[in-house]
Structure formats: C-alpha cells, structure tokens
Amino acid sequence: MTSRCILQTTLLLYFSTMALAMSNDLLRSQLSSSSLECQELLLQLNGTTEYCLKDRINFEIPEEIEKSRQFQKEDIILITHEMFQKIFDIFRRNISRTGWNETTVENLLVKLHWQKEHLEIILEDVKEKENFTWDNRTLLHLKKYYLRIVQYLKAKEYSICAWTIVQAEICRNFFFLNILTDYLQN
C-alpha cells in the first residue's frame, strides 16, 4: 500500500513540477519576445544628436537591478511588471517635440501594454498567496529611479535631448530586464 502511495506522490510531484516548469517557460518566452520587440522599436526612433551630450545625467538605476542578483520567481514578476508599467507610463507622455514616428511609439505602447496586462493577470494570482513577503526595498528603489527620469523630463520640458537621453536609458533597462527574465528558468 505504502509503495503505491509513494509512487503516486512521486508521480504527482514530478508532473506538478513539470507543469510549473512549463508555465515558467511560457512566461519566460513571452517576456523575452516582448523585450526584444520593444528594444527593436526603441532603436527605430531617431538617434541622438551630438549637442545633447551636455544633457546627460546618471539616473542611478538601482543596484539590485544593475548587479542582477538572483530573485525569487514572484519577485521577478513584480519587478518586471513594475518596469513594464513605468516604461509605458514614460512613453505615453508628450513626445511632440521629438519628431518621432507616432506609429512606432504607438506600437511600442501596444506591446508594453500587452506585456503589462499579462503580468498583471499572473500577479493577481501571486497576490493571493499568503506567507509571501514582497521585496519592497527593490520596488521602492525602482520607483525612485523612475521618478528621477520623469522629473528630469518635466524639468527639461520634454525636449528632444531629454527624450533622447531617456530613450538610451530605457534601452539599458531592457538589457537588465532580459537578465532578470533568464532567472525565471529554474
């Protein structure tokens, strides 16, 4: 009897871990392709002009993101959701002075929104789990970082140079996002 019970339990564990692994894979592949598409669109926006070099600023991306320490799966979902949401919030702002192709920016917003919505669905589930402590510190640092970017844009009155600097910074964001996404692989 016990040997059968053990067999069943082993099978159950095996299949459930397989199931978890599979949905991890799906999320990872979604995030990777979203990130790639967004990066491509970002790069399509007109490049920097020389005289913007003086407007450069160090936005101080949080160390946890830059050094890419290993996070738990739920934290990764929270962090990537926050990043997609904030990047969406940045690019929906006034870009009239940049002369960028509006369709490209539209596509970028569509993709960011799509990924954000998918992460929100997962997040609603993760939220239900009790006994889970969010990594509030990293989230707080991220929010401060994006506030610096938005305040910079406001201060520079959404000039083309300010937007170019921000565009480069967001490209860097996607680089780190890709590294984070890789940690979803068990």
Binding site: M22, S33, D89, N107, L109, V110
Partner: protein, 572 residues
Amino acid sequence: MGLARPAAAPDDAPPPGRDAPGAARRRGGTTLKSPQNVEVYIVDDTFILRWNRSNPSIRNVTFSAYYQTLGNDTWLKLPGCQSVANTTCDFSSLKLNVYDKVKLRIRAEEGNNTSPWHNIDSFTLFEKAQIGPPKVHLEAEDKTIIINISLPGARDSVMWALDSSSFTYSLDIWKNSSSGERRTETVYSRDKIYNLSPETTYCLKVKARLLPRKNGIYSPVYCIKTPVANKLPPPENIRLDSKNNIFVLRWDYPYGSVKWGHARPNVTFQAQWLYAYLKKIPGDSSGKWKQIPGCKNVHTTQCVFLQNTFRKGIYLIRVQASDGNTTSVWSKEEKFDAQLQITLLPPVITMKSTNDVSLRVYISAPEESENKPVNQNFPLIYEIVFWENTSNAERKIREKKTDFTFSKLKPLTEYCVKARALIEDDKWNKSSGFSDTVCEKTKPGNTSRTWLIAGICAAIFSIPVVIYVVKLLLRCISYVFFPSSKPPSTIDEYFSEPPLWNLLLLTSEEQTERCFIIENTNTISAVEETNQTDEDHKKYSSQTSQDSGNYSNEDESGGSKFSEELLQQESE
C-alpha cells in the same frame, strides 16, 4: 512608546528655559506623558498626523512633531505640526520624495514642561498613502450608463505622479429599489455599464486600486435613472473565433425582423476597433476608434477579416447596428487579445520502425504559411495518441521532445499515431488540431533468434560437462558390473621389474627356476614359475607348444625373452 531618548537638538533654539530636551522634568509637580496611539494618515496628497492625549486633566498642552530623513542626523520641524493644541495636524506642505524613508517623533509640551518623545518607525509616505475616493461623472443612455472617473487626487498629484496610468477601478452597482443584487465590475476610467433595465434608478460607487496591494477608499454613492428604451438596440454577445489565418467576428441581433409591431427594414452593421492601452492614458479616446476592414455595412451578423490585420496586442471591438435612418448605440466593448486568438497549426509527424521491435516518432513544426504575423515562438508540448491498428485501446502521452521511441511493442503489428501541439498554461489552454494519422508496422521479433543463439551457446558449453559426467558414470558401472581381469596394480609391480635385477636374483635359490627346454623349430617354450617335476614340465610344455605362439601377455613375453637369454647362457 514614551521612552526617553537622547536626541539631537532641533534646529532652532529650544523653548526658553530649557537646556536638555528629552528628559521628563518635574516642574510644578506634574510629569507629562507622551502622546499615545500616534498614527500617520495619508490620503492622496494630504498628510495627517493623529494621536491621543495622555494627560487629559492638564490644560494648555500643545504638541510638536519633528521629522528626520534617513541618512540625515538632524531632526527638522514638521511643518504644520508645531505647538498644536488639537490632537491632529496636517503636514501636507512637507516637500519630500514620497519614496524616501522618514522618521517622525512627537511630544507634548506645557510651558517649560515636555513629555518624552514618542517615535514612529521609519516609513515612506507612499507605503502609508491610501488612494482617495474618486470623482465620478454619470450619464445615462439607452440601457447603459456612461461613467467618467476622474483620477483621485489633484491632476499634478505628487503621490501618484508615476501611477496615473496604472490605476484600475472597481465599481459596485445595484438597483436602488431592490435590496440585494450588487454587481461588481472592473472598469476603465472612461467606460460604460451595460445590460441595464430601462427606466430604473441605479446607484453605484467606485474605488481605485493599485497593484500589488493598494485598495482605495470608496467614492460616495451616485445614483442615476436610465431613460426609456427608444433607440435601436445594439448588437449583443460579440465573440471572435479564429480559423486558419482569418478571424471571424460574430454577434447576435435578435431584433432583426419584427419588433413592436412594425417590420424593420434591412439592418446593417459596422465594427470598429481601438487599442486598449488608450483607455489607460488620460485623455479622450473616443475619436481614436478605427474601422475594421471588411466589417462596414455588412448585412449578416458576422464579418471576416485577416489575422494579420492585428498585431500582437490587446484591442477593444464594438459593433453598431443601423437601419438607414438611425444608428444604435454602440455595443459593449469586447476586449480581445490577438495573441490568444492565434491558431496553432497541427504538427507534422513521421514514424519509423527500428530493429528492436520499437517505433521511433519524429515531430516537426507545421509548414510555414504566408501571412503569419503573429509570433508563434511558444514552447510547445505535444499530445500524442498511440494505438494498435486493430484494437481501440489508445495510449495518450504528453511529450516535450520532438524525437522519441515507443519500445517493447509486439512484433509484426501495425501501430498508428497522431499528435497535436499544445500551449499549456493556466489561463491559456490552447491546442492545435490533430495531425494526420501515420501507421507503421513493427519488424519481426528478434527475441526467438536470440533465444536460439543463447540455447546453442549453452548447449555447446554444456557438452564437455555432459561427456565428463557420462564418462564418470560408465566407469562406475563398468567397475561394478564388469570387473576387469587385470591383476591389481600391486602385483603388477613384480612383472614390471627390470630384467637385470632378476638376473642378479637368479643366484638365490628361491628364485631359481628349473626349466627344460625342448627345442622345437616351430615353437618357443614358455617359462613357468613353478618348481614342478619334469613330468609336469613335459606335459606342460607339450601343451604350451601349441599355444605359445598365441601368448601375448606382457609378463609372459617378458618372461619368454628371459628364457631365451637363459637358453643362450646355458648353451654357452
């Protein structure tokens, strides 16, 4: 609570007559206690500090609060909370980064008397902030209510500067008349509520939410009455199906032919789409709806368009009916995710039989078709159905690999297989159709041959063993039943003694032999061991003369040689 802590002096000069703050002073005989139940209450951009008196008897008690940001050593005055007589103070004028950690402390003061500090652990303004009640503007239309929710807080809110496009709104609606039946919906800031009854008063309230865990305060209850239904009703139950590389949009319109006593002329429909993200951005999106190609002025309750019209993203679709003169209100806006609607194409499967009675299966991706704009790079798993051609028993397995083997099958039997691709996810259970069925026969069994070979080898190895055993047995049997006439080996020794030795021994009497040799041209006389008389010898020798030629015994022949030598010796 109420701990006396040595603290750095506040920035400006302390109240006159005081040297070291923080120590409970006995002046006038009373000890002031620090305020109790101090809490920070933040709603949008309003920051409030609340507490309870702990010295109710003493009059003229005022309270002062100070703050300190992390990393800074000095305690600064909290604006709006200096020497307040009430038990609340508003420090909204504090210009601080809402994500920075801050510490607060407060104490009671009465003249020169101060209570110990009451400290509040460090916190960020953002984490303690609650989303305030939103403002809702309502408009009632034909069986729908149009809502317009304005963002909580001021437009240039400091608290929600980054979150203006991240709010979701939760709406509770109920009929004013009946008691129960509350409906809760998640709505955008500019949205509609559908499926309402005409000429009914509905009441609703809204709250804003922010992921992960912020739930806002409910707005006040707003009520409105829906008008009489008189316009053309809108289409209902919009759904989108996908087939190959096209989308089919369908809806219901049960008001087509006859209603209210008069026949309706031909009704046409049109469908429009909008990027869903536009609903999240402040501003009016009503002018941004676009026509779906192939869905304008259609007479049927469906329309068809190519899948590559919509790139990966989330869209909203609405349909409107028109009867020439009037148009209906727009239908409910259906959310649709182009990605979820993709058609998974069935995979291509091939099967080969291998030598050891198994079948190897290869799964490959379906043929690439034109018009495949939607990203199909998902990790797929395959569901394979495997059965014997004659029986109905099917085996279903799920595999991630595209190359695997079914082993331990019956030889010379035909098996069939078909497979389909799956994306398995909690929310997204999508599968392709089944591939073509492929059948293959297994090769003849090698098992009998191997058994034969094994048997032969075993036989070969066992033969010597068997022979040995048989030989042993025969020896045993012959020993028991057919004893040999051989003298025992001990006697044998005598006959095998060398002749020289015997020659020497001839001199002793015991071993001498008396022989009479009768010469005969034809015969050789045999030698006897006996010491018998001559007569006997004569007899014996005549007898032996006949047989002597036939004797072939070893000893006797040895003996005969010996006698020849004797003869030679005596003749000499």
